[in-house]
Structures are given as C-alpha cells and as structure tokens.
C-alpha cells in the first residue's frame, strides 16, 4: 500500500509539499467515496490508489459500494448507457426498483461525512437520503448528449448534489449546480505503471512471446470499433512496405457481438502476417500491459470515439511517443508535435509512424517530453491536488 512519501520520487518537484499543506487545511474531516464496485479500471483503479494515500495524509477516507439484484444492475446499466447517448428502454417499474434499492442501501451505509463523492450512475440516487456534508456527483463519462428521457429522470437527482465533476468541459451538461473539471489520472506506482527491472521486463515479454529485436508498434485498448484496431492494422500495412516492424494489439475483448466480430477480423488479418500479434488479455493483466508499453517503439491510440481512456498517458509516462485519434480526451493528453501526433485517418497515422521511424532521433525526444507532460498533468499526485482543492473550495 503506497504512502504519500512514496510519490516524492515521481511527482513534480514541490507537488507533494503542496499536497501536504492542503491536507493540513482539511485534516480531521471525513471523506467518503461511493461507487458501484471495487473492481475494474477507470474510477475504481484511481480509488484503489487514492483512498490509502488520503488516509496517510490524515484525512479519514472511506470507500463504500452499492449493489442489488439483477434487475437493479440492469436498470443502472441501462440508465448510464442512455446518459451516454445510446437509446435504451427502461421502465418506470425498473426505475422505482433502482431508487428503492439505493434508498435501502443508504440506510445500511455509513454516509456521514464532510465530503461525499458519488461516482457515476449506479449510486447517484443515494443523494436523496443525504443528511449532511457536501455531496459531489463525479461523472466519468461523456454526458453531453444523453437520451432525453433518461436525462429528464436523472437531472433532478444531479441537482440535489452541491456540485458535479466531469473529466472534460465538453462532457458536461447544463445543470443547476456548479460543474468542475478534474482530469483522470494514472498511478505511477501501480503494477501497470511502475518501473520494471530489465530482467522482469524480459521475462514478461518472453511469456507473451514478444521479441524486442525489431521496432514494435503497439495499441492497447478494448477490441471495439470505437478504438479502431482494424484502422491500426491498415496503418501498419502501409508502414510495413517500408519498415520491418511488428504490430501488437493488446486488450480485453468485451462480451458483445461487435467486439467478438472485431477480434475475429483481427485474427483473420493476423493469420496471413506473422508480424501481427493479437493478445486477448484478462482485465488484471497490468504487468503485461506495462511491459508491452515499455517495449514499444511507438504507441498508437487510434480511437475514433469520445471517452476518457488513459492509454496515451500511460504510454507517455513510459517515455513513448503516442499517435492518437484527434478526439477530445486524446487531444487533452497528446500535445501535437511535442509528445506525439493527433491524426484523423489511417493514412495520417501511417504518415506519422513513417516520419518517426525515418527520423529516429525524434522518438526519445518526444518520449521525454511525454513523460514530463504525464508527470505534471496525469499522475495521481495531480488528482490528489484536485481532490484536496475541491474539498477546500467546497468545505471552507
């Protein structure tokens, strides 16, 4: 379990001092995070790292979760999907069950705190049982174009909070409460991002059958059309005519027909080319992802959809140039022409890969700039600063 002092070696100079000074201002206050679960990536990954460190700073921080039966989860999932903009049908009966389950859960959980941070949709209606403290709704997804019916149900709930927090300003929605912006972060001391000794790195790569003899192009991400792994294959094929490179596509296949179809297409592409490797990894393959990102020459995140994945920040932290799709979240992470390139097409990705491979000296230069950008903007320490600043601002 990490302590705040452990982050001095990786955070920008002076940052841990500011964190400690801010923590002194809210020391003794109680902070509760409530989410829909403790597993998975994204918000849960940040909370697994942030909660112990906040306690180490002297802020009594707890993490509660909500749950229910299958119908409860189904309604919560449908509501979130609808708020993300996809049409979903949910019944009044289902909504009543969701609200009632959370009402019962609110009686069971200890929500007495000065600062209650409620993550995403599943636990959101707990706010109707709020007794004291400042309540903040943390929205981790793009909520700018929700299904109208879902927003009509959900907006009154959000307006019962004291504030909302979004990852980007374009993900926000007009609300009756202030909307703050907190970028997500990566934990530099986790298995996914910590330094790996050469022997450890070599062992993990050997277990994945990835050699380091030739330049390696890598994309890490779900096998969905939104993350465009087939576009990455097509960019690789353009590059392959001129450079002896390998391509690794690594990620978790989601359990839906679209994802299975994408994986089948990728396997078909890989069948005729031994230099394409498709790695379906379990959700907890953090060390493997870490090793692949460290072994890569250039990392691609050719997403064509909105959503705040942190693959680019993870790769930049490992000193790699990143070529990413010009979507909001990647444009926030990649500084075009400084830490990598933002592209809008397969051809654009291939052009930038060839440019870097032909001007090899730019690769470490961009990588170093990326690592410093990630250090300042995307490490957990910056996230802790934001949490503490928000606590100070809302609970003076």
């Amino acid at each position: 379990m990490s302590r705040i002092a452990d982050y001095r070696q990786v955070a920008p100079q002076g940052t841990v001092d500011i964190i400690e000074r801010l923590a002194e201002r809210v020391r003794g206050r109680r902070f509760v995070h409530v989410s829909g679960g403790r597993l998975g990536s994204g918000p849960a990954q940040v909370l697994r790292a942030a909660v112990p460190v906040l306690n180490d700073l002297g802020i009594d921080t707890r993490w509660e979760i909500t749950g229910g039966d299958a119908a409860y989860y189904a309604t919560a999932r449908a509501l979130q999907t609808a708020l993300e903009g996809t049409e979903r049908v949910f019944t009044q009966e289902g909504m009543d069950h969701y609200l009632e389950t959370n009402r019962v859960t609110a009686g069971r959980l200890d929500l007495g705190a000065d600062f209650v941070f409620v993550h995403d949709v599943q636990p959101a209606s707990l706010v109707t049982a709020r007794a004291g403290g400042r309540w903040v709704w943390r929205c981790h997804f793009d909520c700018s174009a929700p299904q109208h019916g879902a927003w009509a149900v959900f907006r009154p709930l959000v307006n019962q909070f004291d504030a909302a927090v979004f990852s980007l300003p374009q993900y926000a929605r007009r609300l009756g409460v202030p909307a703050y912006i907190l970028l997500p972060s990566i934990d530099p001391l986790s298995d996914k991002n910590r330094d790996l000794a050469p022997r450890e790195l070599a062992a993990v790569l050997a277990s994945l059958r990835v050699d380091q003899a030739r330049p390696l192009l890598l994309q890490v991400g779900p096998f969905t059309r939104g993350h465009d792994p087939l576009g990455v294959v097509n960019a690789y094929r353009i590059v392959k005519k001129h450079h002896d490179v390998r391509l690794v596509l690594a990620g978790a296949a989601e359990d839906d027909p679209d994802s299975r179809e994408v994986v089948a297409d990728l396997r078909e592409a890989a069948r005729g080319d031994a230099d394409i490797t498709v790695l379906e990894l379990p959700a907890d393959a953090h060390l493997q992802i870490n090793a692949l990102q460290r072994a890569a020459t250039i990392v691609l995140q050719k997403s064509v959809q909105e959503g705040f994945d942190l693959g680019a920040a993870e790769a930049m932290w490992k000193g790699k140039p990143v070529i990413g799709g010009a979507t909001g979240a990647l444009a926030q992470q990649i500084l075009h022409d400084v830490t990598g390139y933002l592209v809008r097409s397969v051809e654009g990705a291939a052009f930038r890969i060839r440019h870097l491979l032909n001007n090899h000296e730019q690769i470490p230069r961009m990588g170093a700039a990326g690592r410093e950008h990630a250090r300042r903007a995307f490490l957990l320490t910056r996230h802790l600063l934001d949490y503490l600043a928000l606590m100070v601002h809302l609970t003076p």
Partner: protein, 221 residues
C-alpha cells in the same frame, strides 16, 4: 543586511477548473461568447494558459488562438489571437475588448464559417485558485532568493501572473514587496519589467534569480 518588517510569504496555488455554460462552435459564436463570458473566464483562457502549459513552449499564447489553429484550422485568426499579450492590458475588460475586436474584424472578412461538432467546440471555463502557503517566509533579500529557488512553479504564477491580473498589482507581488518592505526600488523596477508572455514559469524564475543574484552581489542585502 536589510530586514523587512513584513515578511514575504510564498504562496503556491492549485487551479480548480469550472465548466461554464458558454460554448462556441464557430467564429461568430466565439465573438458572442467572448463578449458575454465572465471576466474570470477571460483570465482563465489567457493568463491561465501559462500555468497549464508551463513545462513547454507556449506555442499559441492563449486558448482562443490554440482553438482557432487546432480545431477551426483558421491560421490567420490563430496568428492574430496569438499575438495578444494579456500583460499589456491594464484590465480584463480591455483584454476582452481586444480579443472581441480581432474576432469581429476577422469574421467580417470570412465568407462562410465552418461549424464544428459540439465535442470540438470552444468550451468556456473559469478557475478558482486555491492558495497554499509554501515553506519559510523571507525577511531579507537572501531569504527571498533561497525561497524563490525552491518553491513550486505555481508560486511564480500566483505572484507574477495572477498577482498582476487579478489583484491589480501591475508590478506583481515580488516587486511590490521588494519596493515597499525592503525599499529596493531599482530591483523592483527590473522585476516589474520581466516579460512573462510566451515563456515558461521556470524561465521566469530563472530571470528573477539572475536579477536577485546581481543585486546580492552588489551588496543589496
């Protein structure tokens, strides 16, 4: 060694960003929103650019110019907005007027404006600077120099940039203290003239240290 009656307390800051319900999807909307947005939002997108881009060369100078270049792909408007030096305007309203005039003049010469999807629009924000005292305070020029060398770069931003724009201290907090508490008019004047535009906070720190070191060598303690 001169010692000040009132010590200088170095303050760092954390920028808490707030989204506003002001969005521009093309140049004409940018003009309207620049005119309507709160002064704190104008501050955030101009002066605040220096805090957020501090390790790198500030290629565009402000968020409006960056958006014009990257999203609108309107290089002419981007160049015109990029040269707006916020430090040369005594008030945020005058800075706002300059930005609006540039966009208005540009829009008059454009036959058709391209409308962007919402995700690529300009989304106005403002910030709350949460201030934090840092380290020991300074009563002498030597202590001031030692503190300046070690504080987080956000202190340079708070005292040199925000101090000028938000607190109405045209010379900045450092120059103000050196003048009023240590009586060092010449050094204060030199520091007030440091150009913080289109550079990084670390380079500003370097220039400050050079000036203070020179004053110490001349026996300014």
């Amino acid at each position: 060694m001169r010692a000040a009656e009132h010590s200088f307390v170095f303050m760092g800051c954390v920028e808490l960003r707030q989204a506003l319900d002001f969005h521009a999807l093309d140049e004409r909307e940018l003009l309207d929103r620049v005119r309507e947005a709160p002064p704190d939002s104008i501050f955030f997108h101009t002066y605040g650019y220096f805090l957020r881009h501090r390790p790198f060369t500030t290629a565009y100078g402000n968020d409006f110019a960056r958006w014009a270049a990257v999203e609108l792909r309107d290089q002419v408007l981007a160049e015109r907005l990029a040269v707006v030096d916020p430090f040369s305007f005594p008030t945020l309203d005058e800075l706002r007027e300059e930005l609006a005039t540039i966009v208005q003049d540009h829009v008059r010469g454009v036959e058709a404006v391209v409308r962007l999807p919402f995700a690529r629009g300009f989304h106005f924000q403002q910030s709350h600077l949460v201030e934090v005292p840092l380290g020991p305070s300074a009563r002498t020029l030597r202590e001031f120099r030692d503190g300046l060398a070690m504080v987080d770069a956000s202190a340079i931003y708070l005292h040199m940039v925000a101090g000028r724009a938000r607190r109405g201290r045209a010379a900045g907090d450092f120059a103000e203290w050196l003048r009023t508490s240590l009586g060092m008019e010449a050094l204060a004047e030199q520091i007030a003239r440091i150009d913080a535009y289109l550079t990084t906070l670390e380079r500003v720190r370097g220039r400050l240290l050079n000036l203070v070191d020179a004053a110490l060598e001349e026996g300014g303690e």
